[in-house]
Symmetry: C2
Subunit: 455 residues, 2 copies
C-alpha cells in the first residue's frame, strides 16, 4: 500500500536546459542540404523560414546544453513536471516480473507532449518581432498545442490540417479555433502546392508532407511570418528532451534505471524527447540501455525505409534531409494514428538507427488497439492511438521479460491521451479496425526516385 | 519567474480520511424519509439499494472523519493529489488585485472529479460481494468515471445516459464502452419507469431524474445488484471532500487562505467537495470565508427553487429528500452543461443555504462560454461547460475585487476539462449559444404539487 506510484518534481527541479545529443554523437548526422544548390545548409539559409534562434538551434553541433528561456520555463510550469508513473496495474494484468514506468505527457492541458516545443517556437518568433506563424498538423495534436502557444505569446496562426483528420477529428479543429487559430483543410486552393496536388489528384485526402508544403509556402508569402514544425527537425527534438531529462530525475526518485526506453515514432519528436537523455548515458558512460522507436506497420520508415537524402515535404520546399524514408510522395494508409503518418525520420534519429544505437519495431493497427484497451482498463487512461504504439512495444518487452524470467525496467512515453480519438475506439469495439499491408514493391517504387534528387 | 504556479502534495500527504461536515453543523439537515411510509429513513431502508457501507455513510451524523480504505487510496494515487494552480495569466488578463487559485480536477484520467466517489462506491460494492451495479449519467462524466471504477474492481455496470447527451456526446458513450460498461439511452423501454415516460411524452429527450428512476428500477430487479449515484447524496459529498482537504493543505503551501471558495452546482458533489473542508473552519473556528455555489440560470434550484421535501428522481423511487428544488418533474432546458441539469440540491447543501452559511449565484449560458473562452486562452485548459460556471463566478468576484481595490484570495474548483464538449464550443464560436429564460410561473407550477407528497 505504501509503494509510490507517481513521481513528480518540484517546480525548482524542472530542468533549466535542453539536451543537444549531437554533441555526444561520434558519427554526426549528415548535414542538411539546400534544396536548390545542394550545398550544406547555413543558418542564413534557414532564417527566411524559421526564427533565427531556432535556425541556430537546428544547426548547433557544439553546445551540449541549451538554456530554456525564463518565459518558456514559466509556461512549462503550467503543466510540468509531468508525472512518471509506475504501471502496477498493467504489470499485474500481464503477470510480468518487469517494472513498467510511463512518463505521462497526456496531462498537458492540450493532452500531449507537443506543447513542449510549441511554447519555445512561439516564444522565439515573438521575441524577434514576428507577428504571424504557420504550421501543419496531422491528427491535430501539434496544431492544438501551437494554437495555445501562439495565443500565449500574441501571434496570429494559420494551420494546415491534413484533410482526412480535418473531417475525422472535428474536435481537434474546434480546440484550435477556441484558441484563436485559423484552420485550413489541406490540400487547399490557398497555395500553389495545394492547387498542384488537387489538380493532379482531385480527391486527395492529404498528408503531412503536403500540409508542410502549404504551410511553408504561406509563410514565405506573408510579411513578417515564420513557419514552425512539430517534429522531424533537430530543434524540435531538442525541446522535447525536457521529457527525458525529467524522467531521468524521476527514475532516480524511483530508485531504478530503465533497461529499455520506448517512444512511438512519427517524425521523431516524442521518441527523441524520452530517449536522448538516456542515450547520453550510453554514449558518454557506456551505460546499457535499449532505445526502441515504435512505428506503425503501415508507415515503417525506420524498419523498412531507405536511408537517403529526401525532402521533408511533398513538393520539395524543405532542405534535403538525410533520413530513413519511404519517399516524400508516400501516401500512408488512413490509420487512426494520424500523428505517425509521415514518410521520414529526422536526421539525428536516422543516423542513430544507421549506427545501431537505437532499435525500431513496427506494429500493426489491431495490436495497437488491443494494447490501448488493456492500458485503458488497467491504468484508467484512454491513450492516443499514436502513444499506443509505445504501449504495445512496452507490453511486448514485458511479456518477453516474463518468458525469460527476468526483471527488466521498462520506461515508455505516454505522449498523449485519446479522448479526442474516441471514434477510433468505437470502430475497434465494433470490430472495424483493420491492418494495412505495405508490399515491398510499393516502398521500392517510392524511394527509387530519390537517388536522382541529389544526383 | 521564481513564483510557484502549481502546488502538489506528495503521495503520503494525500488525506487519509474524508470529512463529514454534518457533525459540525449546528442545524442538522432534516432527515431523509421513506418514500412510502414517510418515516425517517434507517440504514436497513437504504441497504436494498446501496452497499451497506455507503448506506451507513449516508446516515452518519456522528463521525467527523471517515477513513479512506487502503484499496481506494491506492487508486486515488493514480491521479491524486491534483494540482492547486495559481492562475497568474487569468489574473493578468482581468487586471485584478485578486489572487485566483483553482484546484485542477481535470487531470484525473477520466477528465473530472467524479472518480473521487466512483472508486469508493465500486470498492464498497465489491467488498460485500456485489457483482452488478447500475447508475445514471447526464453529460457522461459520472458514467465514464464509474465505468473505469467498475472495471478496476471487477463489477458489471449498466449506465442509463440522458438521451439528449447520448446523441450529443457520443465520445463519452464510447469512453464508457471502452471501459466495458453497457450504456442505454434514457428514457428507454427496458424499465417500467422509462416505458411510462415514453408513453406519456413519446419524444422525451430525458433528464437525470428519469435516468435515476430507470437505474434504480434495474438495480432492484437484478440479482446481486446495487445502485450508485454520482451526486446529491451525503456519501457522495463525503467522498468529494478529498478535493477541499487537499486544497486546504495546498493553500497553506501557497501561504494564503481563501476569502472565497467557489464550485459549480448540479447536485452538489463538486461544490461540497471543494467547500466543506473550508466550511469546517467557518463552523468550528468562526473563520471568515464565503462559499459560493454557481448554478445555471436555466436550472436555478438554489437561487429560485423552493425548500421542500421532494424525490430525487422523476418517478418517485428515491427517499424523500429535504431540498431546494424546482420539482422532480422539472424538465431543464438543453444547455451544454448537462451535468448541472438536475432539479434539486442535496440535503446538506440545502440546509446550509437555508441557514445562510453558503451563497448561490445563477449564471446564463452566454456568460459561461465567455468565461470559458477567457480561461482557455489564458490558462490553456479548455474547461467543461459545467466547470465554467465556477470560472464565471470567480471572474465576477475578481472584477468586484478590482472595483473595490481589494486583494482577495479566490479559490474555485475546475471540476473537469471540456475536450469532449467541443461541439458546444463550435456553437459558441458560430454565435449559436443562447440563454434560456425560466419564468417564475413555471417554477411555481412545478413545486406546487410537492406539498401534497408529504401531506
Amino acid at each position: 500500500m505504501s509503494k509510490t506510484k507517481r513521481f513528480i518534481l518540484q517546480e525548482n527541479e524542472i530542468p533549466k536546459a535542453w539536451y543537444n545529443v549531437i554533441v555526444d554523437m561520434k558519427n554526426k548526422p549528415l548535414p542538411l542540404l539546400h534544396p536548390e544548390t545542394k550545398e550544406m545548409l547555413k543558418v542564413e539559409d534557414l532564417e527566411p523560414l524559421f526564427a533565427t534562434e531556432l535556425a541556430k538551434q537546428e544547426l548547433n553541433t557544439t553546445d551540449r546544453w541549451i538554456e530554456i528561456p525564463d518565459e518558456v520555463r514559466d509556461k512549462y510550469k503550467n503543466y510540468r513536471s509531468t508525472p512518471l508513473v509506475r504501471a502496477y496495474d498493467l504489470e499485474k494484468a500481464l503477470d510480468t516480473p518487469a517494472h513498467i514506468y510511463f512518463k505521462n505527457e497526456s496531462v498537458s492541458p492540450i493532452g500531449s507532449h507537443k506543447l513542449n516545443s510549441a511554447l519555445p517556437q512561439a516564444y522565439y518568433c515573438k521575441q524577434q518581432g514576428v507577428t504571424n506563424i504557420t504550421t501543419e498538423t496531422g491528427a491535430g495534436q501539434w496544431g492544438a498545442a501551437l494554437s495555445y502557444a501562439a495565443k500565449v505569446f500574441g501571434l496570429e496562426l494559420a494551420v494546415y490540417m491534413v484533410k482526412v483528420s480535418y473531417h475525422q477529428k472535428p474536435y481537434r479543429r474546434s480546440i484550435m479555433e477556441t484558441f484563436g487559430a485559423q484552420v485550413i483543410a489541406s490540400p487547399s486552393m490557398t497555395t500553389r502546392a495545394g492547387r498542384k496536388i488537387l489538380t493532379d489528384t482531385p480527391n486527395y485526402q492529404g498528408s503531412l508532407g503536403t500540409a508542410i508544403s502549404e504551410a511553408i509556402e504561406l509563410a514565405m508569402q506573408t510579411p513578417n511570418c515564420k513557419y514552425t514544425l512539430g517534429s522531424v527537425l533537430n530543434h524540435v527534438s531538442l525541446h522535447q528532451t525536457i521529457i527525458g531529462l525529467e524522467a531521468e530525475k524521476q527514475m532516480e526518485m524511483a530508485g531504478e534505471y530503465p533497461d529499455i526506453v520506448i517512444g512511438c515514432f512519427g517524425g521523431g519528436s516524442n521518441f527523441s524527447g524520452i530517449s536522448f537523455p538516456f542515450l547520453r548515458h550510453k554514449l558518454t558512460e557506456g551505460k546499457e540501455v535499449r532505445l526502441i522507436a515504435a512505428e506503425p506497420a503501415s508507415c515503417p520508415k525506420l524498419t523498412r525505409g531507405s536511408f537517403q537524402y529526401d525532402f521533408g515535404d511533398e513538393i520539395g520546399y524543405t532542405p534535403l534531409i538525410p533520413m530513413f524514408t519511404l519517399g516524400h510522395n508516400f501516401a500512408p494508409a488512413h490509420i487512426h494514428a494520424g500523428g505517425l503518418r509521415y514518410h521520414g525520420a529526422g536526421s539525428i534519429v536516422s543516423q542513430l538507427k544507421k549506427d545501431n544505437l537505437i532499435e525500431a519495431v513496427d506494429i500493426n493497427q489491431q495490436d495497437i488497439f488491443k494494447a490501448a484497451m488493456l492500458f485503458a482498463r488497467t491504468e484508467g487512461i484512454v491513450p492516443a492511438p499514436e502513444s499506443s504504439h509505445a504501449i504495445a512495444a512496452a507490453i511486448n518487452e514485458a511479456l518477453k521479460a516474463k518468458e525469460e524470467g527476468k526483471q527488466k525496467n521498462i520506461l515508455f512515453n505516454l505522449s498523449g491521451h485519446g479522448l479526442i480519438d474516441m471514434a477510433a475506439y468505437d470502430q475497434y469495439l465494433s470490430g472495424d479496425i483493420r491492418n494495412y499491408e505495405l508490399p515491398d514493391e510499393d516502398i521500392a517504387k517510392n524511394v527509387s526516385v530519390l537517388e536522382k534528387i541529389i544526383k
